[in-house]
């Protein structure tokens, strides 16, 4: 990771992964990726990292006892089970 293009890539990495870059810059990075295996691996594993976090997000569930205490704290117990 020490020639100029690798640095260019490093600075624009997140935007590149998000598809957020200008066409020109994007094309330049694509060209670089063709002959720089290291950057290719960094990009691939970065994408995979983001993918894994997205795929493993837990559903937003409040444990029942936590929810009960929340409603009690706000003095809204009477509404606890009326919505769900």
């Amino acid at each position: 990771m020490d020639h100029e293009h690798c640095h260019l890539l490093l600075n624009s990495l997140s935007d590149y992964v998000e598809g957020d870059l200008s066409e020109e810059l994007c094309a330049e990075i694509d060209r670089h990726l063709q002959d720089c295996e290291n950057c290719r691996i960094v990009i691939d594993t970065l994408r995979k990292t983001v993918y894994l976090y997205h795929e493993t997000v837990e559903p937003p569930i409040t444990p029942p006892d936590v929810k009960e205490r929340l409603f009690a704290r706000l003095e809204l117990n009477e509404f606890l089970n009326s919505n769900s």
């Binding site: 990771m1 992964v17 290291n38 691996i41 594993t45 970065l46 990292t49 976090y53 997000v57 009326s82």
Partner: protein, 208 residues
């Protein structure tokens, strides 16, 4: 995630502002789950997450009158919850990182030093219970500022703009921090998954 986001705009702001308790209970019903999850991701402790949950809705109830409607109600709740989480982290004596280390992490883009292609690992392996635990712990190793951006963007699914409103940061600062957080996590996951690969006896391509 988007389903919940769509639902919040169905709330009547007028009713909420007028102190309609049933409407507020409905808001809590829809949003307690994401606020609790945010607390768990930010502090990794069920008791802290519960405190954040309660404080968030107490403040929301108290300050609804000040809500100006410029951001969405959900972004406003995320903002309160994230502030509560960051305050609680600061209050703790045993923050895992020193202030200096935090600054380094926030300001410097980290050069990747682990170049191992672990993408070929079977998905089953990458999403095992153990791998998930490791991924969760990796998030806890981010500095609080990076963690907040990562949790809002990549766990809660907020847009860059929503995250910038929730954290009172410029959009470019959100992008920079997200990039650093993801790179740091990539580094940590690489350390973990390359070990898994070695254990499996898979050839480590691109290791120089």
């Amino acid at each position: 995630m988007n389903k919940e986001k769509a639902r919040v705009e169905d709330f009547s702001l007028e009713k909420l502002r007028a102190g309609d308790r049933a409407e507020f209970a409905l808001l809590m019903d829809v949003y307690s789950g994401v606020v609790y999850r945010l607390g768990i991701k930010m502090l990794d402790d069920p008791q802290d997450a519960e405190d954040i949950l309660q404080e968030t809705f107490i403040k929301a109830y108290r300050y609804l009158g000040d809500f100006d409607g410029r951001s969405s109600l959900s972004t406003w709740l995320y903002r309160i919850a994230t502030n509560e989480a960051l305050m609680l982290i600061r209050k703790r004596k045993n923050t895992p990182l020193s202030i200096d280390e935090q600054l380094d992490q926030d300001l410097e883009i980290e050069k990747p030093f682990q170049i191992v292609d672990w993408c070929c690992l079977p998905e089953k392996e990458m999403m095992s219970a153990e791998a998930r635990r490791y991924m969760h712990q990796a998030v806890e190793q981010l500095s609080p500022n990076l963690r907040a951006v990562f949790v809002l963007r990549d766990i809660e699914g907020l847009s860059t703009e929503e995250t910038s409103r929730a954290l009172n940061l410029s959009e470019s600062a959100v992008k920079t921090r997200l990039s650093r957080a993801r790179m740091r996590l990539r580094e940590l996951l690489t350390a973990y998954f390359s070990e898994r690969m070695a254990a499996q006896g898979v050839a480590e391509a691109g290791d120089d």
